[in-house]
């Protein structure tokens, strides 16, 4: 499936360029974190790489076919979308789509429901969960299929510290199990804790791609240096 290569990628919405032109490459096992100010195009870049948002120009290629790559990747949104079903049915929905045997569904559901500590509310409507619980469920729903690639759009934005720790733990575990991760965040601390590589995006352009360690010590982009220092980058 890997590497993921994006060449000359451009995304426009109603004639306005939101992202691009951008070129990047993602290798297997990477944890790439996209940093950048509000409106820099982080969400649009993630969605276009995943295939939700159509690109105006450029090419996104995987080493396998598009349908095969789509089956092996998942996306977790900033505002988790819950199906109007129970917690259990939300969690097992992607397995149902893949026609997984019922015994296997029950086994995986029991495993993941305990990992995200939602056993007590398993049969409650998922729409009634708190924001943090919804995000944990959305992440578990994505990971239950053991995706090779996971995209996350600010997965811990506006969540409390305890939930953030739980989500980061799940992400570290899934990375250790071989899932490649690309995520956006506003939280510089989170980028330091999780990232192997940092992509700094500003005004739709990829200003730098650096290993996390060097990015925070010696950022090559002037705007990235200001961003790390806490300045407002416009």
């Amino acid at each position: 499936m890997f590497p993921l290569i994006a060449e000359n990628l451009v995304v426009e919405v109603k004639g306005k360029r939101i992202v691009g032109p951008i070129g990047l490459e993602l290798s297997k096992g990477d944890i790439a974190v996209i940093l950048g100010p509000n409106g820099s195009g982080k969400t649009t870049l993630l969605k276009s790489l995943h295939g939700i948002t159509k690109t105006k120009h450029g090419a996104i290629t995987w080493s396998c076919s598009k349908s095969e790559s789509m089956a092996k990747q998942m996306f977790v949104f900033q505002s988790p979308v819950m199906l109007r079903r129970s917690v259990f049915e939300n969690l097992t929905y992607p397995l149902m789509l893949r026609k997984t045997p019922k015994a296997e569904i029950n086994r995986l559901a029991a495993e993941w429901i305990s990992k995200i500590s939602l056993k007590e509310v398993m049969h409650v409507s998922a729409t009634r969960l708190s924001g943090g619980e919804k995000q944990k469920l959305a992440l578990a729903r994505a990971l239950i299929t053991k995706p090779e690639m996971l995209f996350l759009d600010e997965p811990t934005a506006s969540l409390d510290g305890k939930t953030t720790i739980a989500i980061e733990k799940l992400l570290k575990n899934c990375a250790e199990n071989g899932t490649t991760i690309m995520m956006s965040t506003h939280d510089i601390g989170q980028a330091k804790r999780l990232a192997k590589n940092i992509l700094f995006l500003n005004k739709g352009k990829l200003e730098s791609t650096q290993p996390a360690k060097t990015f925070f010590l010696e950022p090559i982009s002037h705007n990235a240096r200001r961003f790390i220092a806490g300045d407002i980058v416009e």
Binding site: K47, L83, R85
Partner: protein, 234 residues
């Protein structure tokens, strides 16, 4: 005022004594409308889901047309079905005129646009909520439609009940294509029309009350069975 009281008393008497004619007419009314509702739901609900999920040429025109057809005059529908089923019409050979099947056909034509339009409104809203999630999960069109229909089932029930309400209270079309034949095609609405024209207001009122009773009872029963107003439901 006297007629109303007499009508109420006679209605109770007819129901209490299980008047055979009343039972026969009521059962026929229910059979015709429920058959039309079943056929209409099979057509309308998937059509509404397709209109919500798929983007194709003439989609907007179809939606506008369905909305316009919600106000389709039943008498005109009756006339058209009459012409089609009459001996000299294209389907005259089927010998369906003045049968309950003809009445079902007419009612189906009348209620299908109504159910489709109401269902489409609900499914369109749900699709805008689910869009990114279902695209990201690489679902097929059929899987998306199935998911929407299942998750919006309570809203779709309301759409179907609206269709039932229009169907059971309809008189113009079924009078034309059914002929209001005693023990053959007479239903509650046509019986009310007949008794009114004969000047027997008490019996007409009694039949009218029974008609209202059936409509209200079926609506309440359906809501109760589907637990629409229960806590934690969607």
């Amino acid at each position: 005022m006297y007629d109303i009281w007499e009508g109420i008393i006679q209605a109770f008497q007819l129901v209490y004594t299980l008047n055979p004619d009343l039972i026969e007419i009521s059962i026929r009314s229910l059979k015709v409308t429920l058959s039309a509702l079943a056929v209409s739901s099979i057509i309308a609900l998937p059509l509404a889901a397709i209109l919500a999920v798929r983007r194709f040429k003439f989609r907007r025109i179809i939606i506008a047309l369905l909305n316009a057809l919600m106000g389709l005059p039943p008498v005109v529908v009756g006339l058209l079905v009459y012409i089609l089923l009459s001996r000299s019409g294209p389907f005259g050979i089927l010998d369906l005129l003045y049968t309950t099947t003809a009445m079902v056909i007419a009612q189906t034509i009348i209620i299908t646009p109504l159910i489709t339009s109401i269902a489409h409104q609900s499914l369109r809203e749900l699709w805008s909520e689910y869009h990114d999630l279902l695209i990201s999960m690489n679902t097929s069109h059929l899987q998306r439609i199935k998911t929407l229909l299942w998750d919006a089932r309570r809203a779709l029930l309301t759409a179907s009940l609206a269709g039932f309400g229009r169907g059971i209270g309809e008189v113009g079309a079924i009078m034309i294509v059914g002929g209001n034949i005693d023990h053959a095609t007479r239903v509650l609405t046509t019986a009310v029309a007949l008794e009114t024209s004969k000047g027997d207001f008490a019996l007409a009122l009694a039949l009218g009350f029974v008609l209202i009773l059936i409509a209200v009872a079926l609506n309440l029963g359906t809501h109760w069975l589907s637990k629409t107003e229960s806590e934690g439901r969607w």
